[in-house]
């Protein structure tokens, strides 16, 4: 655990010290915050507290943060020639891997929690009706668990890709394709299936289903994928394969 904390401490230092461009800061911090903490709760109204919009934020935000930070985990160390020295140190494989993964998961999750709190403030300021409004317990638990699971899933995929990428750019592009293409294809696939076999459409399948159960199955599926990806990353973390030639 001490070793994992050491790696996380370095990652934290690294992210604070690294100078990104203003555009990158704008795109990774300002835009998501403005969108999910200001615009969406403003526009969605009470639906923000009870329904899909906040879940959308809790899905998209950790994904975006992971997509920006995790490609750097190993590909960045490799690109900056710091990886061989790190691998030559006494740090166990698990400490390097889980230290980097845990840091990004916590970062993505913490950012989502901050956005949820900020969005609540926005909602109450804009839609004030005389008493303080709060998320329903189902939405809050769903949001917090979903953001944690999405963070773990995207970090698992990111680490797996970053381990074998020669550059950060290569890792970022591959990860973006891996994370964004499946959801982008899902819409058309559902539309085609719904047309061809209306009884297989999501509306029919979910009609009358318990929303808590739907959320549980959805989160459970993503959690399973996250665990598989992190397990694969651990299995593929071999010092002898990380020194690329």
């Amino acid at each position: 655990m001490t070793d994992i904390k050491t790696v996380m401490w370095k990652e934290w230092l690294d992210i604070r010290r690294r100078r990104g461009s203003r555009m990158k800061t704008f795109l990774t911090v300002v835009v998501p915050f403005a969108m999910f903490a200001l615009w969406l709760p403003w526009e969605a109204g009470v639906a923000w507290l009870n329904g899909v919009p906040s879940m959308l934020a809790c899905f998209a935000l950790p994904l975006m943060i992971a997509m920006v930070t995790i490609p750097d985990s190993f590909a960045g160390e490799r690109e900056r020639n710091t990886l061989p020295t790190l691998l030559a140190s006494r740090l166990p494989d698990s400490a390097i891997l889980y230290g980097k993964a845990a840091f990004t998961i916590i970062l993505a999750w913490a950012a989502t929690v901050i956005v949820l709190v900020a969005a609540l403030v926005t909602y109450n300021l804009v839609h004030w009706d005389g008493q303080l409004a709060f998320y329903s317990s189902r939405v809050l638990i769903g949001d917090l668990s979903l953001s944690l699971i999405v963070a773990a899933m995207s970090v698992g995929a990111g680490v797996l890709i970053s381990l074998r990428s020669a550059t950060v750019q290569e890792a970022a592009q591959t990860l973006a394709a891996a994370l964004l293409v499946p959801p982008a294809l899902l819409g058309p696939v559902i539309a085609i299936v719904s047309t061809a076999k209306p009884e297989w459409g999501p509306k029919q399948l979910l009609a009358g289903a318990d929303p808590n159960l739907v959320l549980l199955v959805f989160n459970g599926t993503l959690a399973f994928v996250a665990l598989v990806l992190l397990g694969l990353a651990k299995a593929r973390f071999q010092r002898s394969k990380l020194i690329l030639r």
Binding site: T2, D3, R18, T82, T85, S89, R90, S240, I243
Partner: protein, 309 residues
């Protein structure tokens, strides 16, 4: 004698390329051991194999008594390394870089602070400890990387060309820091270099590899002595016929005329006097005769050229 490193028939192949081929050698504890070879000779690969960062295709090695195949964690816990690149986090400060590696090696907090101060102070870097490393010169970075490798007082340090690419002043500084820091602690140093001056100054034993194979090993003086002697003769009248006569003498390896200086390379302990007599009797005028052993660089070049002519 205690050995820090023992290598037996070490081989590493990358596809069809043999980077290290049947390497066998022992490195005694407490010395600076020079591992010499040209670029691509297999020096870096050997270090990576010894640290367990690569697996050998064949052969075995033990480092500080631990097997590189299945006890690499123990090896890495007890060694320091300055590899091909400094491996410094350039946007962190010097102090933060050392702090990170101090934590990695579990150096207690109070000792860590004192050790960082001591190392940076001795290397003349203390005043710049708060600067981000990317603002530093290459020589300063190399010294910092050396400090990082020695931070946890390892009994064995691997240094992969620590002065490569440095100017003369910076290289001399790094060399003297290295000599002072390792001599104090009795650390074993496995130093790869293709700088023969460095090897001659620092190493009490050297091994030369070429194409992944060991071609010579011993004390630098032994290697120089084993390669014969060099005689320089100043004078004139060194006609080509005379040079031919010299070349036909037993023990004469090579004869060259360089700026009116006759340079004769001799194999083993050949007597110089008959050669001078031969020159004088053939009509040459001899003003001065100097006899010495070849430098390590000359030995190295000879070894590198063997089998290629």
């Amino acid at each position: 004698m205690q050995y820090a490193i023992r290598i037996k028939d070490f081989t590493r192949e990358f596809g069809t390329v043999r980077a290290v081929a049947g390497l066998s050698l022992d490195v005694p504890s407490g010395i600076v051991f020079g591992f010499l070879g040209p670029n691509g000779a297999g020096k870096t690969t050997t270090i990576q194999l010894l640290l367990g960062l690569l697996e050998p295709s064949a052969g075995r090695a033990s480092v500080l008594g631990f097997d590189t195949r299945n006890e690499a964690d123990e090896i890495r816990a007890r060694t320091g390394a300055l590899l091909e690149h400094t491996g410094l986090y350039e946007h962190l400060t010097a102090e933060e870089n050392l702090e990170f590696y101090g934590r990695i090696y579990r150096v207690p907090a109070s000792e860590r602070v004192a050790r960082i101060k001591d190392l940076l102070g001795r290397m003349g870097l203390w005043e710049r400890r708060g600067d981000r490393v990317w603002t530093w010169s290459r020589g300063m970075k190399q010294k910092l990387a050396l400090a990082r490798a020695l931070l946890h007082r390892p009994p064995l340090v691997f240094l992969d060309e620590p002065t490569a690419g440095l100017d003369v002043v910076a290289a001399t500084e790094v060399r003297s820091e290295l000599a002072a820091l390792t001599a104090d602690a009795g650390t074993t140093v496995f130093l790869t270099t293709h700088n023969m001056t460095e090897a001659e100054r620092l190493c009490s034993r050297v091994a030369v590899i070429k194409g992944g194979e060991l071609v010579a090993i011993g004390h630098p003086d032994e290697l120089r002595a084993g390669s014969g002697a060099r005689v320089e003769i100043v004078g004139d009248g060194f006609a080509e016929t005379i040079l031919e006569k010299l070349r036909s003498q037993t023990g004469v390896v090579e004869v060259d005329l360089l700026n009116e200086r006759l340079v004769i390379d001799l194999a083993g302990d050949v007597d110089t006097a008959p050669l001078v007599t031969l020159l004088v009797s053939s009509g040459a005028r001899v003003q001065e005769v100097r006899r010495g052993t070849a430098s390590l660089e000359e030995v190295f070049l000879t070894l590198m050229n063997e089998g290629e002519e």
